[in-house]
Each structure stands twice: as structure tokens, then as C-alpha cells.
């Protein structure tokens, strides 16, 4: 059994070395943080080998929500498969549709009209805010604070109303389709959106006051589940988890797809303790950094949406007919910046209208794989903290 030397824990457990036990040795227990558990968001099962409160090994078992979406992808035309992409990461339906739509468009070579690009971009950013709100709320729940959850869902409710006015659905939209957007924006949509942004932005400052800089919350998350930058890149972590470890890598900035290069925004990155706006005990790559990156990303998304509303052109919202697109005998791999990380679609056509192979690379699939490396050596109460900060959605882990 690998010696679990706990080098990053400064507090009371520093010299608790496993090898030389006193005669009072607590008995090791194998515990199932089973598929049904309030701390695992969705049906993730973590088998913990614990010694008292200390975790020796935390092996995640997945596959409880496996719906073989990829096998179905090999039987459906692209425009029929879009609703399946919604159900993968059910908290960020728009971004999933966008990823698959871009993959098919680049494979077939469809040119998407300007207005559709802007609408897609606005809805993708709105969905990012909604998804980060859920992450912020449920992370408060994991730490035991019930109130932030209610506040975040109040704000998210308004975003869902906006989505409902545009595409009729609240969670599984199938709004972004191959070649553009399903139908045009309802009238007065943009000014209601502006009114919402003005209402929402001061609320984020309120969240920071309520939870982010709360002393107990900082003590529970600072210096817990630290992931170094090298590990983060080695385990192919992406999104806020990677940026929380200090690596400045955001697809919207580094390899801008669609029209992201026309907007001016920042990429928040995890910073060590003591820098401006970061509590003293925070280490780069711990739970607090990952959480704070998400909160700041919400503000950046508002900034992008405001610029997009100003530059919104007129024109058609769809590039043309969606049915029977002939897929060339070639393969394509496209990645976009999903709220949880880089969602990639590998599509291989074989000349017919149905793709030969569709492979979805879910960001949560890679992000959760590091749980064992990070989880062993911490305490039982830290597991929900780490899983919550990685913010996984089981739909896209199991596909």
C-alpha cells in the first residue's frame, strides 16, 4: 500500500504517519459512499477504505447512468442525435448541443450565419452562469450551509425562464442545431436579458460575502484536495478545475472557436494565498481556488453577454435544411469550453447520412478520475468538499 505521506496538511494531522502506529490502532473500515448519497452529485459510488476518520483510499466507481449514447449516435442522423447531447451534461444543455453542432458543421462544411453565431454564444454563456450557480449552491450544501443553495436557484430560475421563452424547454433545450439555432429570439428578449444582468451582478458580491469569504467555509476548503498544475495536466483535467490549479488554459481564449475572439474578457485563474481577494491560508489548486474560479467566471460571462447584445446583427438564424446531410468519409475532433471543462466530440463519417462513430469526451469523466490520487490522505469530511469542488455531472461521465 503506497505510503500516504501527508505533506500538504499544515494543521493537526501533520505527523499522523500510517507506518509507525501506537498500540491504539483503529480498525480499518471499507465504506460505500454509495450510488445514493447526498454528497455525490448524482449516481457516483466512491469506495472508501478508512482508518477512523482518515481516508486511505477513495476509488470512484462509475457506470450507473450509462445509457450507451455513443451506440445510439451510430444509428441516428445528426439532427436527430442533438436531443441526446442535451441529456449528457444535463446542467449545460446548450453547450453540449453547440459542441456536437460545431463538429458536424466542420465535418460537412456548413457556414453558420452571423446572427445564429451570436445567439449561440449568448445562450452558451447564459447556460454557463446557470451551471456555475448550481455548482455554487450545491457546494454550499456540501459544506453544510443551506442558504446559498436557495439564493443560487432563485437566480437560476430566472435564466431558465429566459431559456423557456426562447426555446420552450427549461433543461433539455435542443435549441442549438446543426447549421445555427432552431428559431429566432422572441421580441424584447434582449432588454429583459439586460435587465436580468443588472439584477444579477450585485448578487455575486452578496454570495461572496455570504459564503466565499466566510471564515468556516475558508477553513473547510483552503488547503484541501490540492492538485498541482503538473497533475492537473497529466490527468487531463480541464475547465475551472485546471484553472484552479493555476494553469491559464481556456479554449475560448487560447484557441477561440466561432466568434469568441471578438469579445474582450478575462480568464480567472487560481492564485496563492495572500494575493488580492484571496484568503491567507489558500494554496493554488485547492478546493477554494476551484470554487472561486467558477464564481469569477460568472462575472466574466455577464461581461461577454453585454458585449454580444451590443454587436447583435440581423439576418437568418439557420443555415438551411437539417435533414439528410451527407457526411464525408473523414473524421473530426472538436472541443469547446463547457462550464465543467473541455467537451470534445470525435465524429467519423463514412459517406452516408449517419455517422460511423460518435465519441463524446466528457470533461467530468477525466476530472473525477483524479479523486483517488487527491482523496487518499484526507479526512472523511473532505471527500464531499473535493467532489463538490470538482463539480461533476454523472450524465457526461457515464454517457
Amino acid at each position: 500500500m503506497a505510503t500516504t505521506v501527508i505533506e500538504t496538511r499544515p494543521d493537526v494531522l501533520i505527523d499522523f504517519d500510517k507506518e509507525s502506529q501506537g498500540d491504539v490502532r483503529t480498525e480499518e473500515m471499507l465504506i460505500n459512499m454509495g450510488p445514493q448519497h447526498p454528497a455525490t452529485h448524482g449516481v457516483l459510488r466512491v469506495v472508501l477504505r478508512t482508518d477512523g476518520e482518515l481516508i486511505l483510499e477513495s476509488v470512484p466507481h462509475i457506470g450507473y447512468l450509462h445509457r450507451c449514447a455513443e451506440k445510439i449516435g451510430e444509428n441516428l442522423q445528426p439532427y436527430q442525435f442533438i436531443p441526446y447531447t442535451d441529456r449528457m451534461d444535463y446542467l449545460a444543455g446548450m453547450n453540449n448541443n453547440q459542441a456536437y453542432a460545431i463538429a458536424i458543421e466542420q465535418l460537412v462544411g456548413i457556414e453558420v450565419p452571423e446572427r445564429a453565431l451570436y445567439i449561440r454564444m449568448i445562450f452558451a454563456e447564459l447556460n454557463r452562469i446557470a451551471s456555475h450557480l448550481v455548482a455554487f449552491g450545491t457546494y454550499g450544501l456540501d459544506m453544510g450551509a443551506f442558504t446559498p443553495f436557495l439564493y443560487s436557484f432563485r437566480e437560476r430560475e430566472m435564466i431558465l425562464d429566459l431559456f423557456e421563452s426562447a426555446c420552450g424547454a427549461r433543461l433539455t433545450y435542443s435549441y442549438i442545431n446543426v447549421g445555427g439555432v432552431h428559431d429566432d429570439l422572441p421580441d424584447k428578449f434582449l432588454d429583459v436579458l439586460l435587465e436580468y444582468l443588472d439584477y444579477f451582478e450585485p448578487k455575486v458580491a452578496e454570495y461572496n460575502q455570504l459564503l466565499s469569504y466566510n471564515h468556516i467555509f475558508v477553513k473547510r476548503t483552503a488547503n484541501v484536495g490540492v492538485i498541482s498544475a503538473a497533475d492537473a495536466v497529466g490527468w487531463a483535467l480541464t475547465g475551472p478545475v485546471l484553472r484552479g490549479s493555476g494553469v491559464n488554459w481556456d479554449l475560448r481564449k487560447s484557441t477561440p472557436y466561432e466568434i469568441y475572439d471578438r469579445f474582450e474578457f478575462d480568464v480567472p485563474v487560481g492564485l496563492p494565498g495572500g494575493s488580492e481577494g484571496v484568503p491567507q491560508s489558500v494554496v493554488v489548486g485547492d478546493c477554494w481556488c476551484r470554487y472561486m474560479v467558477r464564481v469569477l467566471e460568472m462575472l466574466q460571462s455577464c461581461r461577454i453577454i453585454r458585449q454580444a447584445i451590443k454587436q447583435m446583427p440581423d439576418g437568418p438564424h439557420l443555415a438551411g435544411k437539417l435533414k439528410n446531410l451527407k457526411l464525408p468519409d473523414d473524421e473530426i475532433y472538436v472541443e469547446i469550453e463547457n462550464p465543467r471543462g473541455q467537451l470534445g466530440f470525435y465524429v467519423r463519417g463514412d459517406g452516408s447520412t449517419i455517422p460511423a462513430r460518435v465519441k463524446a469526451r466528457g470533461p467530468s469523466f477525466c476530472n473525477i478520475s483524479i479523486l483517488n490520487h487527491v482523496g487518499s490522505g484526507c479526512l472523511l469530511a473532505d471527500i464531499p468538499a473535493i467532489v463538490g469542488s470538482i463539480d461533476i455531472v454523472m450524465g457526461e461521465v457515464d454517457r
Binding site: 505527523d15 509507525s20 501506537g22 477512523g52
Partner: protein, 221 residues
């Protein structure tokens, strides 16, 4: 047994009420303060002895309570030895200590009864259960002793029984003269720090040594 288990709630609710009635009845020995004159504050000098303690309850009720809780004490002590499951043993120990505390209350020694509950039922027992949970003897282990041990234990028990019986019968106990038996807490405090100061300090030093030894033993090298 099945039906008994099904009506467990009603039975235990009855037990609950009985326990409350006994507690209030047993604590009845304290005289109901006469509302007119208040016991004035304890002056610096010698504490004014409160009016004589007398049992409001007729002796019949008091002896019934005594037998109930004395019986409970004996039964749970026997249960303590018989049970195999560690946690059931701890519960029997709890009932033993609890009924001992109630007996003190019956005798009017309220401070002692409360301290017994705090120190034993609240403190030592919890540490004992805590110790069981943390030692590597997994709590689901069962103590099943071999026949040889049984015989030895029986022998020791018989010897002890006769020793106690003779001691009980031969000594002549001081008859309770029924005069003021209830002492206020202030008198306790004064007695502890004046007449019994040395044993009090020795006990505290001994406890300190025990605590340091325990900390040393559990420390990881």
C-alpha cells in the same frame, strides 16, 4: 415475544411515565419552600442549616421506590456480567450507575446523586464506550468465555459472596437518628477545602498523573 415487540412503543411510553413519576417522587424528599419567608442568602459565617429534612412521602412509598431501584441496580449488574455484546454491557452499566444515582436522591443526597450521574453515567461510561469503539477489538466481537474460566469465576464469586455476607451480618450499622441529614452544597465546599483538603489534593494530583499517562500512551511515536 412478537406481540410484545409490536407494542414496544406503548410499553416504553409507560416506562417513560413511570420513570418520570419515580424521579419526581424520589426527589420529593426536598421540603416545599414556604413561600412567605425566603431562605436568606448564605452569610459568610457558618451556614444556617435549613429546616429539618423530613420525608413528605409516607415511608411506604419510599421503601417501594427503594426496592424498585435497588432491584434495577442488581438486575442490570447481573446483566452486565451475562451479556456478550459489548454495547449491551455498556447499557447495563448505564442502568446500574443510573439506579445508584436514584438511590442517592432517595436518601436526600442530591449533590451526590447529580455528581454520580455526571461523573459516572455521563463521563466514565462514555469514555468506556468510546474506548471500545476505537480499540482494534471490533465492537461486534462477542465475549464467549471457555468453561474453565466459568468455573474459576464461579469459585471467586462464592468466596466473595460469603465474605460480604459475614461482613454484612456481623457489623452493627449506625441507626439513622432521623435528624438533619440534608447538607447544602456550601457545606460540601467548605468541608472539602478545610477538613478534607489533603485527600482532595491527592486525588486531583493522581487524576492529573493518569491523564498525562493516557496521553503519553496514545501518542504516536
Amino acid at each position: 415475544m412478537k406481540t410484545l415487540m409490536r407494542y414496544d412503543k406503548t410499553i416504553l411510553a409507560g416506562l417513560l411515565l413511570a420513570a418520570m413519576a419515580c424521579c419526581s417522587a424520589s426527589a420529593v424528599a426536598q421540603d416545599y419552600p414556604d413561600p412567605k419567608e425566603r431562605p436568606e442568602r448564605v452569610v459568610e459565617g457558618e451556614a444556617v442549616p435549613q429546616d429539618a429534612y423530613r420525608s413528605e412521602v409516607t415511608p411506604v412509598v419510599e421503601s417501594v421506590l427503594f426496592y424498585i431501584f435497588g432491584g434495577a441496580l442488581l438486575l442490570s449488574a447481573v446483566g452486565l456480567c451475562i451479556c456478550r455484546d459489548v454495547v449491551r454491557m455498556a447499557t447495563c452499566l448505564f442502568f446500574t450507575l443510573g439506579s445508584a444515582a436514584v438511590l442517592y436522591l432517595l436518601l436526600g443526597a442530591f449533590f451526590l446523586g447529580a455528581i454520580q450521574l455526571i461523573v459516572y453515567a455521563g463521563g466514565t461510561l462514555i469514555l468506556l464506550v468510546f474506548g471500545v469503539m476505537l480499540t482494534n477489538k471490533s465492537p461486534w466481537v462477542r465475549f464467549d468465555c471457555k468453561p474453565a474460566e466459568m468455573i474459576a469465576a464461579a469459585g471467586v464469586a462464592i468466596v466473595l459472596f460469603f465474605g460480604l455476607a459475614t461482613m454484612l451480618t456481623t457489623t452493627e450499622w449506625a441507626q439513622s437518628t432521623g435528624e438533619a441529614r440534608s447538607t447544602t452544597v456550601a457545606q460540601f465546599g467548605k468541608a472539602l477545602l478545610t477538613t478534607y483538603l489533603v485527600p482532595f489534593e491527592v486525588a486531583s494530583v493522581m487524576l492529573l498523573v493518569v491523564m498525562i499517562a493516557a496521553a503519553y500512551m496514545a501518542r504516536q511515536e
